[in-house]
């Protein structure tokens, strides 16, 4: 058996202890983020936080409605309860998920897009009517 010099022994010990700490911390972190642990997630955002991010719903809703929206229609994606300071990332997600449509930042006082994809909660606006409902949200069309 090879005897390591004391300094090398110390180095090995430090590295092993650090690696054990990192491994347990990682496992604890994954556990904190929640399960299921051995199931392929539906979106790339499914387990980034213990509570489900609305962005995961945005990805799924956009994927579902993409074939039903007119080409070149103007669209925005919002979570209605955040009004008037809507999360920018939702409509930007739509920008990638709906490449055949024109995506807009939500500003209903300035511009009324053809479609509003409302995540989770109903969207109440006199200029829009509900056209479809999905587990992740609803689709509204301009009247």
């Amino acid at each position: 058996m090879v005897r390591l010099p004391p300094r090398e022994l110390m180095r090995s010990a430090i590295i092993v202890v650090a690696a054990v700490v990192f491994t347990f911390a990682t496992i604890q972190r994954f556990r904190w983020l929640g399960g299921p642990y051995f199931e392929f997630p539906r979106t790339i955002q499914d387990h980034v936080w213990p509570e489900r991010f609305a962005s995961a719903d945005a990805i799924l809703l956009c994927k579902r409605v993409a074939p039903t929206l007119r080409n070149n229609a103007s669209v925005t994606v919002i979570q209605p309860s955040q009004a008037p300071n809507y999360d920018q990332t939702h409509w930007l997600t739509g920008l990638g998920m709906l490449p055949r449509q024109r995506l807009f930042a939500p500003n209903f006082e300035k511009e009324l897009p053809d479609y509003v994809l409302a995540l989770r909660e109903p969207f109440e606006h006199p200029s829009y009517r509900l056209v479809a409902e999905y587990p992740e949200g609803r689709v509204y069309e301009r009247r």
């Binding site: 090995s12 650090a18 790339i44 990805i59 920008l95 930042a105």
Partner: protein, 425 residues
Amino acid sequence: MTDLLAIASYLVLPLIGIAIWRVDLVREETLAVRITIATAAGALIVGLTMALLSLLGIQWSRTLLYSLFAIVAAVGFYVRKPGTRRGSGMKFNAWLAGTIFMWLVTLYGTLTARESCGDLHFTWGPKAIRFFRAGGIDATLLQTYIQLTTDYPPLQTLLFAWSNTWSKQFSWWSAVILSPLFLIGTLLLIRTWSGDDKGTFLVAATMTWTFTLAYPAGCAEPLLLLYETMVIAALTFLRDPRAQTLYATLGCAGAAWTKLEGTTFTIAVVITILLVQRNWRRALIVAAPAALLVGAWLTFVLNAKILLMYGGAKLPIQWHALPVVLKTLAKVAKWELYWIPWIVPAVLIAIGNVKRAIVPISIAVLTAGATVSFYLRAGDPVWWIESSSPRVILTPLLALLLGAIAAHQPHHQGQALPTDGEPVQ
């Protein structure tokens, strides 16, 4: 099928960059390192070619890109020279098993969507998809949607657009899987060039933990870290001055075109080469391609009037924000583990030979300083630091970890060369 095709588009990168195997210095590397180098070169070739086509007003199409890159790969395959050695001569051991285990944990975290970067689905992805559909770098898109961090260097976006040409729809999963794929390359370079399985294991373990907090999967950091590792590891562990220059040049060019921080990294490398290695010739050679690429990109940015993030360099430093910046950065750098990821390499450097680690230490200090300088230009930097710095500080952390390996390098293995002369004893 979409995901498999998109992943395949990344797996052909080494074929596209295989011409680099003609270089004698690369031929002398192990097969694994040669594949990693060819991947890094291939990514740059794909990005540069697609950008050049846009510059010339030629629209991308599957036919055009496949033909072009098939020719590049065929020519590369023809001109390549066979490698002179197969393996590193390093045996399988418990440390290597640990490294593989750590990588598998990262792979698990990525595949279960626990490390996905938010910026992927609202910045990098949308930009790439829209570029793909426009058949080129779309200045109008960037002018319309300022939220897309419009002037960010284009390499990662172009690689995503390249993958979209393979799959009918953009594959979000292939984008996140790039993170563990590039991590393999990073670890391979460190292991082979340092010849230190123990040190590589420490890097793998540290990256596994910090990746869970930094959410790099789908962002540009995994590619950036690969290029940066190429630079730091070459300058630290390789004995051949020509090899140091070659890999530092390739790595800096790639880093500078991958992220804005790649430019500051290149500046840090050049300063280190000048001050620590005292080699102005190497500094010039390393800086030139990176400067050319950043210059070309900035010319486009200025012409298209989409200057945004680079414009931050002109903003005054707000010294009054220094305490807030340092406090917030220190909080993030804690990595929820009392700074252990930093303390461990620092202790290893302290009990080793500090002189041998001077190159990575210099790069770590300079890139950390650049990070502080970035955030000092923002009026209210807290949110910005908390959301972006876990990824940004991976660069100084990686440099420090490489320093921890270098500090324990035996005489006969590669070590830092402060000049082109004798190795530090």
